[in-house]
């Protein structure tokens, strides 16, 4: 589904990603872990098409198509979804406002008929239950005055509405208490099936107790320096990142 080869990306003059390789197949959950500043969020942003980053080298294909050649909205319509680490506040625009346009843009792209007001409302009600989010919250200005948990539940709500093939959760656990974490994880797990895939970007192992990964990759200094199964995450939780750093630094010397 997703194939990343030798991906290098800069922000300004600074090289952040120094050659990433990653294969994601349908039905899989991949966790990207790593210390602060290792390039985890950059990878998520580059995949979603954020303009602040410049891709210097490498290829990313999504279902055989060149992802890097697509505008962010085309990526979304093709089935990529980024759950933001810091969901932006937009005064005057409610989730309901833009989701109707978003859902119908995605449907159009997939050759489906647009939803009418009733169809949209029915879909919304169904997905709201999943993340225990209220209609009133969705009618308010996006993320304005939302708690950390409400922001992240809203992200997963949008994900549920758009039914992406590849969801990228960027530090979705940051700022969440344990109850909110459970709700968010329940939403993500419910949406999982054999045709879609998830990339979970996180600093801590905690989220992976709830969203259990098939593969764990450790990103350090712009490269994936170690890959393994969920046991690797537990090892990191126990021992921290220093041993990985030491290993990686020794290898590059």
């Amino acid at each position: 589904m997703l194939s990343i080869q030798n991906l290098k990306a800069n922000i300004g003059e600074k090289e952040i990603l120094k050659g990433i390789n990653l294969e994601v197949k349908p039905g899989e959950v991949h966790a990207i872990m790593g210390p602060n500043g290792s390039g985890k969020s950059t990878l998520a942003s580059v995949l979603a098409g954020r303009a602040d980053y410049e891709v210097m080298d490498g290829t990313v294909t999504f279902n055989g198509k060149d992802l890097l050649d697509m505008d962010p909205e085309v990526r979304a319509r093709e089935g990529i979804f980024l759950a933001f680490q810091y969901p932006v506040e937009i005064p005057g625009v409610s989730t309901t406002n833009f989701m109707k346009t978003a859902v119908n843009e995605v449907r159009k792209h997939r050759g489906q008929e647009p939803l009418d007001a009733l169809g949209f409302l029915t879909l919304m009600k169904e997905k709201m239950k999943l993340v225990e989010i209220s209609q009133s919250l969705l009618s308010r200005s996006l993320n304005e005055g939302f708690s950390g948990g409400e922001k992240k539940r809203n992200e997963v709500f949008q994900m549920a509405m758009l039914e992406p093939q590849l969801s990228i959760l960027d530090e979705t656990d940051s700022g969440l208490d344990i109850d909110a974490l459970r709700i968010v994880a329940h939403g993500v797990n419910t949406l999982r099936n054999e045709n879609n895939a998830t990339i979970v970007v996180t600093h801590y192992q905690r989220l992976l107790d709830y969203i259990v990964p098939d593969f764990v990759h450790v990103l350090y200094n712009g490269r994936i320096v170690k890959s393994g199964t969920k046991e690797l995450a537990l090892e990191l939780e126990e021992k921290g990142y220093d041993w990985i750093k030491a290993e990686a630094d020794a290898a590059t010397v």
């Binding site: 979304a76 932006v88 937009i90 625009v93 859902v103």
Partner: protein
Amino acid sequence: MTEKLANPISEAVIANFHAFEQSLGADTVAIHHHTRKEALNHFLRLGVPTTKNEEWRYTNIAPSLKGKFDFAKTSKSSNLDPEFLTSTLFEGIEANIIVLVNGKYLPYSSTVLSPIHEVEILALDRAIEKRSAILDTYYTKVAPYNNNALNALNTAFAEQGAFIYVPEGKEVELPIFIHHIADGTSDSTICHPRNLIVLGKNAKVTIVETYSSLGENSVFTNALSEVVVSEGAHLEYVKMQAEKGNATQVNFTQINHAGNSTSNTTTITVGGKLVRNNLHIAVDGEFAEANLNGLYWLNADRLVDNHTLVDHIQPNSQSNELYKGIVSDKGTAVFNGKIFVKAEAQKTNAFQSNRNILLSPDGTVNTKPQLEIFADDVRCTHGCTTGAMDNEPMFYLRSRGLDENTARAMLLHAFAQEVVEKINHDSIKQFIARQIDSLLGFENE
């Protein structure tokens, strides 16, 4: 000295003043001749403001005034099709309607539906006959003409406008629309519409002024409104300026507040080649509240200049000001917000905010708050921002599948809607929102 006498505009004004007065009815001349003459002299003394005048630094109106004082031309009555008038502007909203074409009252297009005990709506020249006591009390007293050239010019040449009088305790159910149409179909023209709006104690009314223009010849509107909001009264006031690129407008509005009264003034400017608004509010009563909202949308090489002045004279009063602008192409926006708090006006709350989005590197915004505070126990805040659209909200919406244009239109709609929402009248608000959205390319289902 000689420079002023040689001013071609002044010469043309003098040459035409006599002809203008002759054209007025004999009675009208008798009543107002002295005032007009005096105003004319003030205008000649003050002269057309130039960009050397700090208050007019960015806004040069002199070129638009040239050649506008050929009286034979400007006095020509308009051949406007009444069908056009009745079919345009706020269709579908039940309202009292006054239509002024080139400053002249069009009786066959105007309708008064509200009963006379609720509100008296007259063309200004009729009010001079019927309501001379009110005229004597307020006319030229609310907005003096001895210190403002354009007000002096309006006072010298004003023929007609709307006279609105709401008696004590009356709430006017239907809104009142004053449609100003500058018709440049057959010739270039100048007009000086003049409104006198008086709310008695505890009276309540919604007034909407619209400005539009026709034809290809250049038109100049020099409008002046005097507004009195008595003790406990409430005024909902909307100005919708949507003239074409052939139009220049100078619009002066003076609102005088008594105690416990409120006003909510929303100025929306989406058209006109050059528009200069002066909104002056005297908050001259305890517990009075003035709200000033403004929205301007600029494209091409248009200019919109909003000068506001809120003068807090008595204690415990409040003002809230929010002006927002969207500037594209080579548009120029000017905002100057003066807040005066007099020494007696303790416990004043005054808020001011001016926010601009620049969509083009060729656009210009000149914004200047000007606070002069002489009381020590007050709360005054002001802020102004000018910047391009934020990238992050754009990226967020695009990452959900919205294309760039749709995302931009949605964000601009949200930006503008904050001002439109301030209008306390649903159908008027919706009408204006639709107009703004169509300019911004926003489709609302």
